[in-house]
Amino acid sequence: MARDPNLYDYLPNDGSRPKITWPNGARVAFWVAPNIEFYELDPPKNPSRGAWARPQPDVLNYSYRDYGNRAGFQRMMEAMDRCGIRGSVSLNVAMCEHHPEIIKACADRGWEFYSHGTYNTRYLFNLTETQEREVIQDSIDTIKKHTGQKLDGWLAPALTYTDNTLDLVADMGLTYVCDLFHDDQPGPVKVKKGRLASIPYSLEMNDVIVYNINLVSPRRYAEILKRQFDRLYAEGAESGTVMCIPLHPYLVGWPYRIKAFEEALEYICGHDKVWLATGREIAKHFLDNNYDGFAKAAHQVAEAPV
């Protein structure tokens, strides 16, 4: 085990960074990342993480998540449609087989699909490199087969990793990851091979964290989203920022939560210097224009004494 993930150098946000200029002079690259997930009722066990809080079958927690696909997804999608927002789907790729109707609805709208593993109940913990490559290849192949899209982005299933994960996704041709939470701007990820960008996702704006960990009310969530946006929009006048709203249809898609989300989306999209982007588009812009400058400006980190 390492003391430092050794995935990025130190690049302080002190005004000295190379400037990011988004298309059309936008201040904020705004993207919405719905996690479209399938949780298994009776998955095999991984010694590093249990799948369910209760003994299997945990019908409460299983059905709680299934709600997102049956009911919540449609509400979330309609709210995004009203604001002209294309989603960047964080996809458990087995959804392509289980619920192709949802995949088609996203594809018909020009949404991006990136990988969130195969199932949200199959973790990367303890996989060998060969096994992990098999999981990544499954995602590449499944997304290609069902959507025609090249897989560019990665968010590890249930945020589970090995020491190899980001090296492998870069080696297999992906261009960005959402797994790192160290910045409000994209940044280079140090991998063995390839060029990989970290694109700001967010735990703080993530409805799982907001609703299930921080236990906030829906109306308060709308306030949080608006405040986050306001500051990033103001700061984006100096150098482009990124705001992501990661979503889970099983949470945001409840009737009593959707109104507050709609209101926050309308507020954000009512500003003119906002780039309504996808994860892939943000990554490409950064890789084409800023990756090298950011890599060059960053400070190498010395090893701390033991």
């Binding site: 095999p44 209760r54 003994p55 289980h98 109707e101 096994q131 299930n212 109306r219 009593y256």
Partner: protein
């Protein structure tokens, strides 16, 4: 994305269990990357996959837009509860004897439920009361009061310390089901058609046992806003959208929100369902209540205000679970 490491209170909607076993290096068995149930639809046989917005429109009696289903729970938490295989929401907390939590739960059965009863009666609403059989044995006068108000008795297992879970011997689980239903049917004089497992905890066979014992609707699964067909070994029953996420325990106890927040959540929930019903067909608004929570003097007005908002709209049908099930089964959506 998924749940992270922090454990959320006792609501049952908890983040996944975390186990800190260091990686061994040998990898996972090959079976870990095999997916026998990777196929169209669900990974089990209990119900068909479908999205709410694609189903035939439901038309409620008198073309109501929303069926309002209120479900108070009458629970008994034994003082010496074992919490096997886990402590249900509302369980004892301190070392034995935990008088404060025991008696506060019992407050609901002595005091809180009657505030709810008055609030519902004043607005012409008949509830389905989810009842532990132990409550019927211990407080038959309470069951009689519910029955006299025209409320439906909905089975909620034996008590809050007899959970249904995989690993319970089949005969023991069957005994829990039949004993609970026998008691509730005898004391209430009702057929008792609906079943809610204590803490919504099931084994793999709970729905089969419940259906075999004569129940025709089930309230454990929280995956829909509408009734849907649910398969058991004793025939098809109806799954009813009994909520967990929006109930008083989750919002007031687990999330520590105010009673005004609870009222607003109910109102926002209703408003969206009512809006959807205009084009999507009839909807169900389920209000799950715990009398020891909502029945407190300072909280009851929040429920009354939410109910006033709901009942003040045209096209709201206040119904029991059994009435909703029967009306739904007569619809093309049930086919």
């Amino acid at each position: 994305m998924s749940d992270t490491t922090k454990t959320v209170g006792g609501s049952g909607l908890q983040p996944n269990a975390q186990v800190n076993t260091p990686a061994g290096g040998a990898g996972m068995p090959a079976s870990y990357l095999q997916y026998d149930k990777r196929r169209y639809g669900m990974d089990h046989e209990r119900y068909a996959w479908s999205q709410l917005h694609t189903r035939p429109r439901v038309v409620w009696p008198n073309e109501a837009r929303v069926a309002l289903w209120v479900i108070p729970a009458l629970e008994w938490f034994p003082l010496d509860m074992k919490g096997k295989p886990f402590k249900p929401p509302g369980a004892m907390v301190t070392s034995y004897p935990d008088l404060r939590h025991y008696t506060l739960r019992d407050y609901g059965n002595r005091v809180g439920i009657f505030r709810i009863m008055q609030a519902l009666e004043a607005r012409g609403i008949k509830a389905s009361v989810a009842t532990n059989a132990a409550v019927a044995v211990r407080y038959p006068a309470l069951i009689k009061a519910c029955v006299d108000k025209g409320w439906e008795i909905l089975a909620n297992g034996l008590d809050m310390d007899h959970l249904h879970y995989e690993g319970l011997a089949l005969e023991e689980e069957r005994r829990l089901v039949t004993t609970s239903l026998d008691i509730l049917r005898r004391v209430s004089g009702q057929t008792v058609r609906g079943w809610l497992s204590p803490a919504k905890s099931e084994s793999f066979v709970t729905p089969d046992l419940v259906a075999a014992a004569g129940c025709d609707y089930l309230c454990d699964w929280v995956n829909d806003d509408m009734p849907y067909a649910f398969t058991t070994k004793s025939g098809t029953v109806t799954a009813m959208p009994h909520p967990c996420d929006i109930d008083d325990y989750q919002i007031l106890i687990n999330n520590h929100h105010t009673e005004d927040d609870f009222r607003d959540a109910l109102i926002d929930q209703f408003d969206v369902l009512y809006r959807e019903a205009a084009h999507g067909g009839g909807r169900v608004m389920a209000v799950s209540l715990h009398p020891w929570i909502t029945g407190q003097p300072y909280r009851i007005a929040a429920l009354e205000q939410a109910l006033d908002h709901i009942m003040g709209r045209k096209g709201v049908w206040a119904a029991t679970g059994a009435q909703i099930v029967d009306a739904w089964r007569a619809q093309p959506a049930a086919a």
